[in-house]
Amino acid sequence: MQVGTEGSAPDIRGSSSPFAKTVFAAGAAALALVLAGTVAIQVFYALAHDPDPQVCLANGIIPYQPGPPSTGAEGWQGVCNIVLGLTSTAEEIVLIGGIAVGAVIGIVGLRTYRRMDTRRKRDHVITGAIFGGQAVTFGIVLWFFVQSPQKFVSQFMNFYQLRGHDGWALVNGIKFTLLLAFGGEIGGIVIGLLLALLEISGRRSVRAPATVYINIFRGTPLLVQLSIGYFGVNLGLGLHLSSFTVAIAIFALNMGAYSAEVFRAGIQSIDRGQIEAARSVGMSYLQAMRYAIVPQAVRRVIPPLLNEFVILIKDTSLVAILGLSLTQLDLFSAGQQGYSDTYSATFFLAASIGYLIVTLPMIAIVNAVERRLRSGLVSVAGGAA
C-alpha cells in the first residue's frame, strides 16, 4: 500500500470487491424488504378505495352502523385497511423473503468476513451480515404480529378517532405539558442553586436543613409529593390553588432537590485555585461565588440539567393524579380524556408520539452541548466561541 507523502492521509481501508459489495447490498435489501415492504403495502392499502364491509367483517372488523344501538366503531375503514395489508399475501411474501435472504446473508457474512483481505471488504461483509440479522429479527417479530393483528389494530391504530374527538386536544396537551415542565424547571433551578450554596457551606448548621430537604424530596415518589401537595397542603390549608399551580410548585420543589446535587457537583468541580484567587484580591466568599465560581459551574452543569429537564417533561404526566381542569390538560391527561371518550387506545400511541416530539430535540441538544464541552473546554469555559 502506498503511503501518502503529502496532502491527505493515505487510505488504509483499501478497496472493496464485487463479493463484499453483494453481501452488503443483499443484507440491506433484506432489511429494506421487511421494513420498507411492510410500509409500502400499508400505503398501497391506505390509498386504495374503501374496503369491502363483507371482507372486513370476515376479518373481525365490524363496520360502523349508527344506532341506536350503534355497532362497530367509526374509522373502521382505516383499521380494516391496516389489517388487510398486514394479513395480505404480499406481506407474507415480503416477510418470508426478507427472513430467508437475511438469514442466508447473515450466515454467508459471518463465514467469510475473516477471509476478506482489506478493511473495506471486511466492513462491507460485516455490515451486510448485520443487516441480514436485523431483517431476520424484525421479520420474525412482524410474522408473529400479522398472524392475528385484528384486536391490536382496532385498539391502538384507529387514527380516525383522533380526528373525530378534538383534533387540538393533543396539541394543547403538548403546550400545557411544556408549561408544567418549564415552570418546574425554572423554579427548580433557582431552588437548586440556593440549596447547593447551602450544601457546600463549611458550617454543619447551614448544611443540615438543605441536606434534609434534598433527601426528603429525592427519597419519596413524585406521585406521593403531588398528592400531599394538592390533597394535603392545598386542600388541608384551604389555599384554593388550582391543581395546575400546585403541580408546578411541586415540580419546582422536586427539581430543586435534584438540581441542587447537580449544582453542588458542578461547583465542587471548579478548581480550588479559582476561589483562592478571588479571595486573594479581597473578594468576600459570596462575591467569589457570584463572579468567579458559579458562572463557571453553570456552564458545566448545562448537560446534566437538560437531562433532568427531559426526565421532568415525562414526569409531568403524573399530574393526571390531581385531575386537571379540562382547559389545561397536559399531554397524557389529554390522551386519557380521549381514551375515555372513545375507548380507543390510539390516544396513548398519539400521546407517546407527542412526548417524543418534545423530548427528541432536547436529547439532541444535550448531546450537542456535551460534544462541544468535551471537544473545546477552553471555548466553553472561556465563552470565547
Binding site: D271, A277, S280, V281, G282, A381
Partner: protein, 247 residues
C-alpha cells in the same frame, strides 16, 4: 503604618497542622518595607503554606501575623480588606477562564475597591502595559500562553496597588522558554521598591534579586541571611546538601 517593631510583615511563632501533619513548626520572620524575601527549600518543606499564612488563605494553627501595624490573626480583622493590600500570584495562574484578560483585572477593582468602570479600566490597561500585554486585553486566558497568563495574573494583583506581593512558585508551571518574561516583570517590580515574598526554585533570581533569603526544610527555617552570602557560604549541612542537589 509599620508594625510595632518597624516591620511591614511580622510572622510570630507560626505553627500549622494539617490533621496530624505538622507542616510549620514555629516560624518567625519579619520583612522591612522594600525587602525582597526569597524562600527556598525542598518541596514539602512548608514554603507555600508559609506564604499562604501571610494573607491568611491558610489560618495558622497558632502564632500571630502582623501586617501594617495590626495583628491580622485577630479574629475581628476584616480579612477581605487586609487582602486588598496583599497581592498574591499562584503557581497555576488562577485567572478566571470565563473572563477576558482586562475583565480579570477590572472585576476586583470594581467589586472590591468600588472604582467606577472607567477608572478600573484605565488602571487595568496601565497594568497590562506594564507587563507588556496591552494587545491581549480582550483575549480569554485559554488563548494565552502560560507566561502571558502569569503576567496577566501579576497585573491583576498589582492593579489593587498592594503594599506587599506574594509569589508562590510562579514559574514552576511554565515551559522553560516562558520563565524569563515572568521573572523580568518581577525584577522590574523589585527595582521599583515593592515589598515581596517570593517562594521559588529559581536560584539565579534568588541570588540576583533577593535582598533576604530563608532556607526552609521540614517546617522550620534552617538558615537565613543575605542571598549572596548564603549562596557563597551555606553554614548548615542541610543547605549544602540542598545546593548540591539542585545546582
Amino acid at each position: 503604618m509599620p508594625n510595632p517593631d518597624g516591620s511591614i510583615v511580622h510572622l510570630d511563632g507560626i505553627h500549622k497542622w494539617f490533621g496530624d501533619n505538622h507542616v510549620l513548626r514555629g516560624i518567625d520572620l519579619a520583612l522591612q518595607e522594600g525587602d525582597v524575601q526569597v524562600v527556598v527549600g525542598p518541596s514539602g518543606g512548608g514554603k507555600s503554606t508559609l506564604l499562604r499564612c501571610v494573607n491568611l488563605l491558610e489560618l495558622p494553627s497558632s502564632g500571630h501575623v502582623w501586617f501594617d501595624g495590626r495583628d491580622i490573626t485577630d479574629i475581628r480583622t476584616d480579612l477581605n480588606r487586609v487582602r486588598t493590600h496583599i497581592g498574591m500570584v499562584f503557581q497555576s495562574f488562577n485567572l478566571f477562564p470565563h473572563m477576558r484578560a482586562l475583565r480579570n483585572i477590572t472585576l476586583p477593582l470594581e467589586k472590591v475597591l468600588g472604582l467606577s468602570s472607567a477608572e478600573a479600566e484605565e488602571r487595568a490597561r496601565d497594568q497590562l502595559a506594564r507587563v507588556k500585554l496591552s494587545e491581549k486585553a480582550d483575549a480569554y486566558p485559554g488563548s494565552l500562553s502560560g507566561g502571558q497568563q502569569q503576567r496577566v495574573a501579576i497585573a491583576r494583583a498589582l492593579a489593587m496597588r498592594p503594599r506587599l506581593m506574594l509569589f508562590d512558585e510562579v514559574t514552576s508551571a511554565l515551559d522553560p522558554e516562558l520563565v524569563g518574561e515572568v521573572l523580568q516583570v518581577m525584577k522590574d517590580l523589585a527595582a521599583e521598591g515593592m515589598t515581596m515574598v517570593v517562594v521559588t526554585h529559581e536560584m539565579g533570581f534568588a541570588r540576583e534579586v533577593g535582598t533576604r533569603l530563608v532556607f526552609m526544610d521540614q517546617g522550620v527555617i534552617v538558615e537565613e541571611g543575605e542571598p549572596r552570602q548564603v549562596f557563597a557560604n551555606p553554614r548548615t549541612e542541610r543547605l549544602q546538601e540542598f545546593f548540591g542537589e539542585i545546582l
